[in-house]
């Protein structure tokens, strides 16, 4: 018989969540619930030959596996988030058994309740800002006083200056964007900028922001994003997301 563990996707407060029967999660395992002291954990039973520490170390380097597992985890979180305020749990959090999940719900009960009340009625939006520095700046017609060599150097210096200037302007525009959006959002978080190789774009990423927005202010938020387009930075919007970026229980006092 294969050893199994309990894979944890998300925690909600105890509310009837009909329509989740037949929901499948990672490795096509059936999702079930563990209620405990007013909280509900969404879990599935996973084989440890796939989800033990050692196998995971290898699987996490397998893009197909990672992509499939992240997708399945996300799917469960989304389904749950559609029905109740949710605290998503980080990818591949596996317990020895249900009893350990109950221990968690008991030990961190108040923290979960706090987090869940802080995300209730709110959703996360992602806003990324890019700047294209490969595009040539405004044409600089430097007078050629000292021959072609000097002219070249001057042009080159001017080019560097305008590139630097373009970068500075774009960076401050991205800061302004982040401040403006943060003022509408209940909370904001800046993820690390994605490497161009990961974002799949040649432009440099200046902002990889996450914003927790009251549903009633979604329209205002989205309109503001649209209004701030075409000001020297390219903006990409993603979401709405379950509040992944705002349920990090390990971080305290992170406004």
């Amino acid at each position: 018989m294969t050893d199994t563990g309990t894979y944890l996707y998300a925690v909600t407060e105890e509310t009837p969540s009909p329509g989740l029967e037949g929901l499948h999660g990672v490795a096509d395992t059936e999702v079930r619930t563990i209620p405990c002291e007013g909280l509900v954990a969404y879990v599935s039973t996973v084989p440890l030959d796939q989800f033990g520490a050692e196998p995971l170390r290898r699987s996490m380097e397998d893009l197909d596996w990672l992509s499939e597992t992240a997708g399945a985890h996300h799917h469960v979180v989304e389904e749950v988030a559609d029905r109740a305020p949710v605290a998503p749990v980080r990818l591949v959090t596996v317990y020895r058994g249900d009893e350990q999940v109950k221990d968690l719900l008991r030990a961190r009960h108040d923290d979960f309740v706090d987090v869940l009340s802080s995300v209730a009625g709110r959703r996360e939006w992602g806003v990324k800002a890019y700047v294209d520095l490969s595009a040539p700046g405004p044409a600089q017609t430097a007078p050629s006083l000292g021959g072609p060599g000097t002219a070249y150097l001057k042009r080159r210096q001017a080019g560097l200056r305008s590139r630097e200037e373009a970068w500075r302007q774009a960076a401050s525009e991205a800061e302004r964007l982040h401040e403006t959006l943060s003022s509408i959002a209940v909370a904001s978080h800046r993820h690390r900028a994605q490497d161009p190789e990961l974002s799949g774009r040649k432009e440099a990423m200046l902002l990889n922001g996450a914003y927790l927005v009251e549903r009633s202010r979604d329209d205002e938020f989205l309109k503001t994003v649209d209004d701030l387009r075409d000001r020297g930075v390219e903006i990409e919007l993603t979401g709405p997301w379950a509040p992944y970026s705002f349920t990090d229980l390990e971080v305290r006092g992170d406004g």
């Binding site: 563990g5 944890l8 925690v11 440890l48 989800f51 033990g52 520490a53 995971l56 170390r57 996490m60 380097e61 397998d62 893009l63 990672l66 992509s67 992240a70 997708g71 985890h73 996300h74 989304e78 605290a87 998503p88 749990v89 980080r90 990818l91 591949v92 959090t93 596996v94 317990y95 020895r96 350990q100 221990d103 968690l104 979960f112 987090v115 996360e124 992602g126 978080h189 993820h191 690390r192 994605q194 490497d195 190789e197 990961l198 974002s199 799949g200 990889n208 996450a210 989205l222 649209d226 919007l237 993603t238 997301w241 992944y244 970026s245 705002f246 349920t247 990090d248 229980l249 390990e250």
Partner: protein, 70 residues
């Protein structure tokens, strides 16, 4: 591509991707750097794996491979 209801229509109009086509890299930003983190004895020693580093390396490698094929 399925567009459901006014919200879907509004999203499509603004040129946004439907949820099914979430970029893996955006998802991993959230699934590996966000969410509830449980550390300690309860969890099966996943915490000592630097998930972010491993996964990002995989992604970069795969992107390079794709570029090589193109």
């Amino acid at each position: 591509m399925t567009v459901d209801g006014p919200r879907g229509a509004a999203l499509a109009e603004q040129g946004r991707l439907p949820a099914e086509r979430v970029a893996l890299v955006d998802l991993l930003d959230r699934l590996l750097a966000g969410g509830v983190v449980v550390s300690g004895d309860l969890v099966l020693s996943i915490a000592d794996i630097d998930l972010v580093r491993i996964s990002l390396r995989v992604l970069i490698m795969s992107v390079r491979e794709n570029l090589g094929e193109a």
